[in-house]
Symmetry: C3
Subunit: 380 residues, 3 copies
């Protein structure tokens, strides 16, 4: 499938392209992607700080599904499909809250925090229905360094830990479990999700379109770095510009140091670590003082939701230790620029004349491997 770039007389010939137009505009292919990709991949859902107490829950929307993420016990978090096993009603009126059990607002069937059906009112007899067979449909859930990941498939081929491995020493020192979310931006992008993915996977466009990112990041070295990405997971952060301690317009910290770094006498010149999941992108980036998590949620073949969350340490105080708009400044601007680029790109892809041209072997090296992964998953 993949056309590898080949060398003729020692010259790299750019022969790789993105996908045929059909892949970006067909609702049938989107449906196939739902079955083979969206329904089987690990993606980020939220942070443990959202549900500290037993019975705390929040709703998570992904690929047309609504999941209830709930703390069952100090050690256990569950993900249930938000679908009553009686007639299918969504189970909650609020997007988050604290419950003892989930009581369906329609006919008051109630489900324990672990999803077991507890009570179906007015049944003539306790043997009338098989309670054991009527638990809420589960999704898989795993917590990695305080970050909650879900998989629509209740029995994924691979656990998240197998896929990503344990957090690095640096990540452990940052103590991501002791962070809190301070800003969340949602953008509805009128483009195929793969158009947005391609955009994220290359920084060929950065110099021309991302002045803010250009201030904070070392764009040149990012070309080499993204070239290493591949497979359904990658490890590492985004390289900062020389002299920058964190991603900000000045390079100065925008909040208190995370985790154990707060106790160090001398702060390191730069902290950048993280991980990414593909092909539906989850991108976690840690810096010394805050973390950024990007996620995408495919809505249809023509629309994708791009969400960015910003985190600082739990005990940081707004207005004293950080200003949310300052923390979000660089990526918020970058996201808005990317939305415009992707939508303009997608309008072109909608042309019946569109055929993808050659990818730049240097600056777009991470694009084709991800598309290869998608093609492979679709032909399973």
């Amino acid at each position: 499938m993949r056309q590898e770039n080949i060398k003729v007389n020692n010259v790299v010939r750019a022969t790789e392209t993105t996908l045929p137009r059909e892949n970006y505009v067909s609702s049938e292919i989107f449906e196939l992607e739902h079955r083979n990709i969206f329904s089987k991949q690990w993606t980020y859902a939220g942070h443990i700080s959202q549900i500290p107490k037993i019975g705390d829950y929040f709703l998570h929307s992904y690929a047309g599904e609504s999941l209830i993420i709930v703390r069952e016990s100090a050690d256990t978090i569950r993900a249930h499909y938000n679908v009553c096993r009686h007639r299918g009603s969504q189970l909650t009126k609020s997007d988050s809250g604290t419950v003892k059990s989930f009581v369906c607002p329609y006919h008051q069937w109630s489900f324990a925090l672990n999803g077991a059906l507890r009570r179906a009112p007015m049944m003539p007899d306790k043997d009338c229905i098989d309670y054991e067979k009527l638990s809420l449909h589960p999704a898989a859930v795993e917590v990695w360094a305080g970050l909650i990941f879900v998989n629509l498939d209740p029995a994924p081929a691979e656990s998240l830990l197998e896929l990503v491995g344990p957090p690095s020493e640096c990540v452990q020192k940052l103590q991501p479990e002791n962070m809190k979310e301070i800003v969340r931006d949602l953008l509805r992008v009128q483009a195929n999700w793969k158009t947005l993915l391609e955009n994220y996977l290359e920084c060929y466009h950065c110099a021309g379109s991302h002045p803010e990112l250009g201030i904070a990041f070392d764009i040149q070295s990012s070309y080499g770095q993204t070239a290493d990405w591949g497979g359904s997971c990658f490890i590492g952060g985004e390289p900062l510009r020389k002299g920058f301690r964190t991603v900000s317009m000045t390079g100065e910290l925008v909040s208190k140091p995370l985790g154990l770094f707060a106790e160090e006498k001398e702060l390191p010149a730069e902290v950048t670590d993280g991980m990414g999941l593909l092909p539906v992108l989850t991108r976690v980036i840690f810096h010394l003082d805050h973390a950024i998590i990007h996620t995408m949620n495919p809505i249809s073949e023509r629309e994708v939701e791009w969400t960015t969350r910003w985190y600082v340490r739990s005990d940081a105080v707004e207005g004293v230790d950080y200003n949310p708009d300052t923390v979000a400044e660089v990526w918020r601007a970058t996201n808005a620029e990317d939305k415009e680029l992707c939508e303009r790109n997608y309008r072109g892809v909608l042309s019946r004349r569109f055929i993808s041209g050659p990818l730049n072997p240097i600056a777009e090296g991470a694009v084709r491997p991800a598309l290869n992964l998608i093609e492979k998953l679709l032909t399973y």
Copy 2:
């Protein structure tokens, strides 16, 4: 097709469910329903008081079709498809009015009240076209106790009278032909029409969601009553709560007694009568002082219009004999609650994980027979 509830060791096992997900989300099945159900069933269109004089007409929208309901003579009401036989233009600019003939606003072809083509301007010769073959397409229309019913099929398998039978003695005494419409509420419900139907056919959800209905109606006895429903027609009203004379928040009358009841010295404790048509629901409910008519109009597999009309006796005077908001109070609140329940239910049905669970044998007894009817009609 139907899984009847079976008894094991004298215990009723709830084995009936609603339909497979496909039936609620597929546009192909909706199209099939249009052909086999919507196009062949009797539904309520309006009241004779809307068109008392010859030439009076009103438009009626149902299942994507626009019908002209017109009084041709003292004895005859007609239903014509609102489609000019020349190039297909809709024939009227207003939703109701009084005409001598229908003159198409496009090329002024004119049609008599009975649908016959009268004049096609500028034709070179009177024999140029076959006037006899160019009458408006007819729909079937029947009047039952002053209520106008239509059937998109001009030659229905069964007449409405054959289906429903003549009005009961009680209904006759109420003189529905001497009512007038005082309020009409239209709700666009973002759900499949069958989701709304299922909602109406059971009161399992009433205790938890309908405080107003619970005040006026005897919900407990409604379980047994709806269990009798079945087939494409049912007879009877909705049982009121003990001590309630009519459906109102206090139980007191909200308008003057209907028909001959106004002349009685002593009013009966309760009047509740009516009829219903299935599977696309028309529900007529008579009480001592007013009548309620619910109808549904399927828009697409994802949307249905729910209309409720309230009627009082013709000579009742607004502000003196009745207040429209008081008459409408109980069902207006109930409708709003049901819209929310159905839309939440339907969002769950849209989940690819949805499978219908067991229906409550006691409280949801009328649901499955109606779904059986639908399945039977679809496989005709």
Copy 3:
């Protein structure tokens, strides 16, 4: 295919109709029309006065495609698909402007005015990509009397000049190349494009619906005239009412005479000339003092955009020689009326009961030949 009107005992029998309902409501047929008709036909795009200088360009939207119309040299105008040959992004941020080359806003690939790829930044080597194979996709473009026409097919079966022939002596004297656009009205009509086409091709509806047109035009003689139309091109203007010098509410000129007519001592009683292209209508009408150009742009099987542009001589001065609202008055009113007629017609066509009736052999003579052309093109 075509049912010709036949004579029985010397009486013309109206046996021609419009098309089966499917042709107006099916997205599959619309897609086929895109391939066989929209993608191969000449249509009007704009006037040379919009791009007088080298590098001047404007965007033109048609049938879902965006074209860049650009002046490459004094003698050459080009039409390029607005799709970068790298990843497909649209190439311009503005709808019109002046450029030295087109620099894609995404990755700064740059294209010469003639569409040749000039530069792809950061490629490892100049031989890395085949610049010659990465020119912008061309569309065909021809200028006829200063009017710019395009064809989505870069190699049309027939040139515009072969199709239309050279401008008549009268048109040459009017010097259309020395006009300027003073008003442009866009209407989104909720109807199939053929419903709008049928509307334009007959004046059977004019007496009943177009009071303004009836003042300015000789409607009676238009029946005979449109009967001559046929094929994919027709020549001629629209006949004015006796005593009218131009199309206006008074019959008086609404701007200075066009072209060489301005130098004549005595103005002719009436000037009416022009041309039309079918089946997707371009209609150019010249009068003594201004020109009108109608175009249609099919959006979907249920929507079409109708654009009318008005032109006066280049050196006419607004407020002195002409008032834009006066110039546009008759057709602006007529367009609004036609939009309403077509949308009402289309709502009727959407009825599952719609079947087209007989066309008037006198007054709708031009409708069926155009539909025959469409049927022929679809079965190619």
